[in-house]
Subunit: 173 residues, 2 copies
Amino acid sequence: MDLKSIIRTVPDFPKKGIMFRDITPLLSDAAAFRHVIRQFLNYCKGKGINVVASAESRGFIFGSVLAYELGVPFVPLRKPGKLPYKKIRQEFQTEYSTDAFEIHEDAIKKGDNVLIVDDLIATGGTAKAAASLIEKLGGSVAGFAFVIELSFLHGREKLKGYDVFSIVNYDSE
Amino acid sequence: MDLKSIIRTVPDFPKKGIMFRDITPLLSDAAAFRHVIRQFLNYCKGKGINVVASAESRGFIFGSVLAYELGVPFVPLRKPGKLPYKKIRQEFQTEYSTDAFEIHEDAIKKGDNVLIVDDLIATGGTAKAAASLIEKLGGSVAGFAFVIELSFLHGREKLKGYDVFSIVNYDSE
């Protein structure tokens, strides 16, 4: 399935010069969405993944379905101030700004084998922060699964030593 | 399944006097999560739902799985500035503040029969805004499905005329 023909490119969003890859048409295409989840499930095979974690907001859309299909816990990583219980925080740089994510301290148990899912990897800042949070709580990162990779932003280099899977790659803006 | 024993209550979050109902333990319990989705699927039977829409962020977690299970499009309603394409906006009041959601103009087609899914209904402001966006684009609201209802905040009154389903109710703080 040619997902690039379904993903919409919006020029100059959120700022001039950025070609924004819009997944909403993919979400509106049930067959395409199913295709993405099936690819993720194939990637997971044999990895012994027992938790799926995703950062808000778009990551939730894919991570929750994958956790549901695998029958494992889904752990949301949230922007500061959203999670109500005991938590830890990790700051990071995105393609556009500085930000932070939080995770509940009881969301990960020592020895958990965690898949991190997101819609897109750009510079890898979000992904690296997610991995740090999971490892601080004693979990291992089994791998990363992304729908879209922007390889010209070299996010994989930031995730050296981790297993990284993506379905669709853009090698230039 | 007794979901109330799984949902965590955090006092005084996000501000003094609020008993926050925390769904993260439910997300960490794959059987409980599956139970929620099964209840939602039962509710959908015979309604001819052909789109599921949810507001960010926690709504995405349940709405995307339901859309996936039903094999229909998933439409995300997002905070201002997040959606890149042609869109419309609806402001609303929440339990805590004033806010707004946006939807892509091409996300709903005239005659779509849309289920709106969220984790929680409090005053109903978010839900009503979601319905307005869908109706402005020519869709019909087939119903609302919530995991948690805070009935002492009377959200159902704001949704008079609509079909409203919730799994767990709290009738006081």
